[in-house]
Amino acid sequence: MQTVKMVVTGPFSAGKTEFIRSVSEIDVVSTERKISSSAEKLIKEATTVAMDFGRITVDEDLVLYLFGTPGQKRFDFMWEILSEGMLGFIVMVDSTRPETFREARSILETFRAYAPTPYVVAANKQDKKDAWDIDDMRHALRLEAKVKLLPCTATDRATVKSVLLELLYSILSEMENGAH
């Protein structure tokens, strides 16, 4: 059995666990814990502390694993471990929380330093009324035009599929250009 992996990263409460849950064929193996910090508690009740783990069986010989990283900075020691051997990565950003954009940028740069693999940025919660426009997010996140910034709703399987496909197209394109 051959296995490959992709990593889903991003700031706290960006929607990483939901993203994996939308496409995983198994119940996501989650290491969520009740949040103790009162500031973070206002945003959600539980958070990932080690990793999320989802699986998509491609065929009898090949399995794709999806790893979600913990979003809070104090668990960033896990990031490098999770990034080892990844095919590519997805940076999730909550489009409704501009206060997290700077951190998302910082996480993106950290992962790029860990491994020069292809990546895409998913602008999550684009279905919400107060979501930022994609073009504005591109400026705020300081993303070059060649970086794919994709609208996404982590609970909507169709948009999650589209993000995964765009990442795979990028991987294929880099392989064809001899970069990978």
């Binding site: 296995t3 090949l62 020069p116 795979l168 294929l172």
Partner: protein, 271 residues
């Protein structure tokens, strides 16, 4: 009980606060992994400060502040063994090169800069030596610590934020390929230009700081500004040891790898 410990447990701000409140006289010696600082106090006021082997003599400080020409500085250095800082100060005042106020202002600025630099030290050991008095051959000042402590606390917050933004100085910088990002259209200060002139994928931020004689806070502040302006991005330095190779694909064959990605694409499409 001896005042000694680790900066992880007791910060520079807390130390200065204690020295101020206890009106201590003596020298605080702080040893970081790379250099040692000596800061002397008299009755809780800053008297003298020096980091590492830097030239903390009056001539050196006035030269750094452009109050002495290179020629004057060289000539003084040749005679420095015979002349103490106090004597040199009197000579310079009598010769009309500088006033007493200018000497004091430059010394105060220099000592303040040393203490500001110390605020960025988060690792190291310290001890306070009651017996080690401010050096007699140097001109001492009497600076209240309150303003330094307030400024230090503010700097610490900025430092923490900058550390979050730029966690490692071992990374390099490269100019962004973003169209429209043209340095000529940006108003950069002298210090920023100095940093910009060293930006190259082969130079780590730490090397740039060393070449431009900036401390960690100063270089982080400038790099942060350039990052925010979208002019540069952080990359792994060229020639730096790459992380140990980890297999991404279960096969080495390029065609098999492409086939594998295509199988993944087909599977995701079918979900």
């Amino acid at each position: 009980m001896a005042l000694r410990g680790n900066l992880r447990d007791f910060t520079i701000t807390q130390l200065l606060n204690l020295i101020n409140l206890a009106r201590k006289t003596g020298t605080l010696v702080v040893e970081s992994p790379s250099e040692t600082a000596r800061v002397a106090f008299r009755e809780g006021k800053l008297a003298f400060a020096q980091i590492g082997q830097e030239d903390g003599s009056l001539a050196g400080i006035l030269h750094k502040a452009n109050r002495l020409t290179a020629g004057q500085f060289r000539s003084i250095q040749q005679r420095s063994r015979q002349v103490s800082d106090k004597e040199l100060g009197l000579l310079l005042i009598n010769a009309g090169y500088v006033s007493q106020e200018e000497i004091l202002a430059n010394l105060q600025q220099h000592f303040t800069d040393v203490v500001h630099n110390l605020f960025t030290w988060v690792e190291g050991f310290f001890h306070f030596d009651n017996e080690l008095l401010p050096p007699d051959d140097r001109i001492n000042v009497r600076l209240d610590l309150e303003n330094l402590i307030i400024e230090g606390s503010r700097q610490l917050r900025e430092w923490e934020q900058l550390q979050d933004e730029i966690p490692s100085l071992d990374m390099a910088l490269k100019f962004t390929d973003r169209p429209g990002a043209n340095l000529r259209n940006v108003n950069l200060g002298v210090e920023e230009w100095r940093v910009v002139s060293y930006i190259n994928p082969r130079n780590s931020i730490r090397q740039i700081a060393s070449a431009t004689k900036m401390n960690d806070l100063e270089i982080r502040r400038i790099v942060y500004g350039l990052l925010q302006a979208g002019l540069v991005e952080i990359i792994r330095p060229e020639g730096a040891p790459a992380p140990p190779p980890v297999r991404v694909f279960p096969t080495e064959d390029k065609e098999e790898q492409k086939s594998l990605v295509n199988r993944l694409i087909n599977r995701i499409r079918s979900l």
